[in-house]
């Protein structure tokens, strides 16, 4: 990405790392999480502290998000709250599409499933809430990666596991796909996590506009990507994700 300011990008990465830890982090942990030297990390944190974007626990010296961020209109969204707000629209998406629905939130290069609605065929299925999926091989994961350019670039150094022969493991190819996903507002996956199982997902935006989650359908790839089925499905997914975003504004 040409023309970005490195220190701002790094500061943003630090903030994401704190959010994703779900609470507080020490400077050593943070440095390791974002792959920077401890001194650099410390310097960045001092500036963030000064502008109120992080707070330091006087007892433990650990860092948490600061009150200064609240004023930006996009405070930390509780995952259980997100599920509660998304529930009606996730139900409706599953009922209308005929596919299972998952809502994911970011956790580094992985996705945490915070909500799961069964495929509406009454077949035996297991609830997957709380399970963790690889971001690079799932549609919800790609949506989340696409929304965090700094994280996405960390992929360049990451070893991307080939979960199926179709998994995109070439960083440049994945980055290109993420860029397209971001531009068009949805992502897909064709048997890249489990062979024969595909997915389509779209971003859920928080009140401040940040992407806080991804909502998607998944199911047999030959049904999901059947001739003529895809555009209608895509519209349903994008509209459902937009409906959840609206719900978060209320």
């Amino acid at each position: 990405m040409p023309g970005t300011v490195q220190s701002i990008e790094r500061a943003a990465t630090l903030l994401h790392a704190i959010v994703e830890s779900g609470g507080q982090m020490g400077v050593t942990e943070l440095a390791a999480a974002v792959g920077l030297p401890k001194t650099t990390t410390h310097g960045l944190l001092r500036t963030l502290l000064a502008v109120g974007f992080v707070e330091q626990d006087p007892r433990t010296g650990r860092y948490a998000l600061g009150a200064g961020l609240l004023g930006l209109g996009s405070h930390y969204l509780d995952a259980n709250e997100l599920r509660s707000r998304a529930s009606n629209w996730a139900d409706s998406l599953a009922a209308r599409s005929g596919f299972a629905v998952r809502l994911g939130t970011p956790a580094g290069l992985q996705v945490v499933v915070v909500h799961h609605v069964f495929r509406p065929d009454d077949s035996p299925q297991e609830l997957e809430v709380g399970s963790v999926l690889p971001a690079h091989a799932t549609a919800v994961g790609k949506v989340l990666l696409a929304s965090r350019p700094a994280l996405a670039r960390a992929l360049a150094d990451a070893r991307l596991e080939a979960l199926t022969p179709r998994t995109v493991v070439e960083p440049a190819a994945l980055l290109a796909e993420l860029q397209t996903a971001r531009a068009r507002g949805w992502a897909e996956q064709r048997g890249e996590y489990r062979l024969g199982v595909g997915g389509i997902a779209a971003p859920v935006h928080g009140p401040g506009g940040l992407v806080v989650g991804a909502l998607g359908v998944s199911g047999p790839a030959e049904e999901l990507f059947a001739e003529g089925a895809r555009p209608a499905l895509r519209t349903m997914v994008v509209e459902a994700a937009a409906a959840v975003s609206r719900e978060l504004l209320a």
Binding site: N80, E81, S84, A250
Partner: protein, 502 residues
């Protein structure tokens, strides 16, 4: 064929929701607005009927606008409502005489104790299938007639009207002072203590007993059947049905066969089991109530286990203690610890309903030590819902002689995964959630749609039911919770004993 939609209004305890469903029972629009809870004195809970009427108009208009691409395709309106909440209004002006007395309100406690001491009191249980308790509407109506000067005389002259929330809304929707229809549905009427539950008519002996003039009562109608035209909406719609919210959820879960049951988790929680066209009397502290009636068909009955405080305890944690910012965050807080730390909360805020019926019981937190954190309290709050469910499920199993195979659930609390898993473990049976969590609204939509022919019969509705989630009991946890159940029961006994000392 062009799509046809049905609008449902779910006038609940915390909010009013207007939801549009399609023929497959899928939600296509939803609008919601909370109303103010008034607590003028300890034990008193009131709502402003005019605020609720305004919220109904607003959310209905918004939901209709959301599907505006399809004018004329919305073909009926169905209503579900918080039950037992009592409204008295002036027929000539349309103004409520006082604020609505909400079903959680306990001010009629002393009045009910006085009535219960009378020799004819046994009549109440026999005729109504209910307990003589302040939870039902009749004593509240009597309280208003006693408390407001001149009210009884005006009621006798037909100047004042009584109704539960659906009556108030139907009267306003159909024109109010300009020809409003004054009706109630049979499920709501069955919660007043004024209706003969077998004949489904206002009972003169009960009216005498409670001192209520017949002139102010609405006409009792079937739950499924056109009640009038909602001319107050931007698009006039036939009102095709009305049911109490818990009966609406039973209908929405398509529990049409005897033995089928559901539990709805909202402000309170209510387990209802369809008993068919037979009125079954409980020997274990449940009540007998009307489940639904289709116009021209016999009444279907249900056994009910009513729990007053479940989601309301979560609201208390949020609003009174300020430990969480939103109801859903109780799960986040509860997950900071792995067990209840020995802590039990009995939320007998307004006494205990089924299966105890102890109006004087009061809430308590048992097992406090300095080890207990807010995380443990959050767990105990959620577990209170599970333990109370176990109490009513056990009573229902004993009454029916059949253990429940799986519990069908719905309502606002069912998005809480920790709670749903605890329920499966504490009951030792799977917990199943349907594809439409808004089952109360769906039931009201089904009732209205059946009345105007959107669906041909209840069989067509059954095919719409699908499972959206299932929680399976963990054998180890089941055994541990079995062992802990006596602790809970002891805590309940303490909360009853505490009330008796007053």
């Amino acid at each position: 064929m062009t799509e046809r939609y049905v609008l449902a209004v779910d006038q609940g305890t915390t909010s009013t929701r207007s939801i549009v469903f399609d023929r497959a029972g899928r939600l296509v629009a939803v609008r919601q607005r909370e109303h103010r809870q008034h607590f003028p004195r300890p034990g008193w809970v009131e709502h402003d009927p005019e605020e609720i009427w305004a919220n109904t108009q607003l959310t209905a208009a918004q939901a209709l606008r959301d599907v505006a691409g399809a004018p004329g395709q919305v073909v009926a309106l169905g209503i579900a409502n918080q039950r037992e909440t009592t409204v008295v209004w002036d027929r000539a002006t349309g103004r409520p005489l006082v604020r609505a007395l909400v079903w959680q309100d306990t001010r009629t406690g002393p009045l009910v104790e006085e009535l219960a001491a009378r020799p004819e009191a046994a009549l109440v249980r026999e005729r109504t299938g209910l307990e003589l308790a302040g939870y039902f509407a009749g004593p509240r109506l009597r309280w208003v007639l006693d408390a407001v000067p001149g009210a009884r005389a005006r009621a006798e002259r037909g100047e004042l009207l009584f109704g539960t929330m659906e009556s108030w809304l139907v009267w306003n929707l159909t024109g109010g002072t300009d020809g409003g229809v004054h009706v109630t549905d049979v499920t709501n009427a069955s919660r007043t203590l004024l209706m003969d539950v077998r004949r489904c008519r206002w009972d003169p002996d009960l009216l005498d007993f409670f001192g209520v003039p017949a002139a102010m009562l609405p006409e009792i109608r079937p739950s499924v059947g056109v009640l009038g035209t909602a001319s107050a909406l931007p698009v006039p719609l036939p009102i095709g049905g009305a049911l109490g919210d818990q009966q609406a959820a039973l209908f929405g879960q398509t529990c049409f066969a005897p033995g089928e049951a559901k539990c709805t988790y909202g402000t309170g929680s209510f387990l209802l089991q369809n008993t068919g066209t037979d009125l079954v009397r409980s020997r274990h502290g449940l009540i007998s109530t009307v489940a639904y009636q289709l116009a021209g068909e016999p009444v279907h009955y249900a056994l009910e286990g009513s729990i007053a405080v479940t989601g309301a305890l979560v609201q208390w944690l949020r609003d009174s203690l300020g430990l969480i910012g939103s109801a859903a965050e109780v799960e986040t807080l509860a997950r900071t610890v792995s067990d209840n730390g020995g802590c039990y909360i009995v939320p007998a805020f307004s006494g205990l309903l089924a299966p105890h019926w102890e109006g004087r019981a009061r809430g308590l937190v048992a097992g406090l030590t300095s080890y207990v954190t807010k995380g443990h309290l959050a767990r105990a709050v959620l577990e209170a819902t599970g333990w109370q469910t176990r109490d009513v499920v056990r009573a229902m199993d004993a009454d029916s002689g059949l253990p429940m195979e799986a519990l069908r659930v719905d309502g606002g609390m069912t998005t809480n995964n920790l709670l749903m898993q605890f329920l499966a473990d504490v009951l030792g049976s799977p917990v199943v959630r349907p594809m439409v969590g808004e089952t109360v609204s769906l039931g009201a939509a089904y009732a209205a749609g059946l009345a105007v022919g959107v669906w041909s019969d209840t069989g067509a509705l059954r095919r719409n039911w699908h499972r959206s989630a299932q929680w399976v009991p963990d054998p180890g946890r089941v055994a541990a919770l079995d062992a802990a159940y006596p602790e809970w029961e002891r805590a309940v006994q303490l909360s009853i004993a505490w009330g008796e000392r007053r």
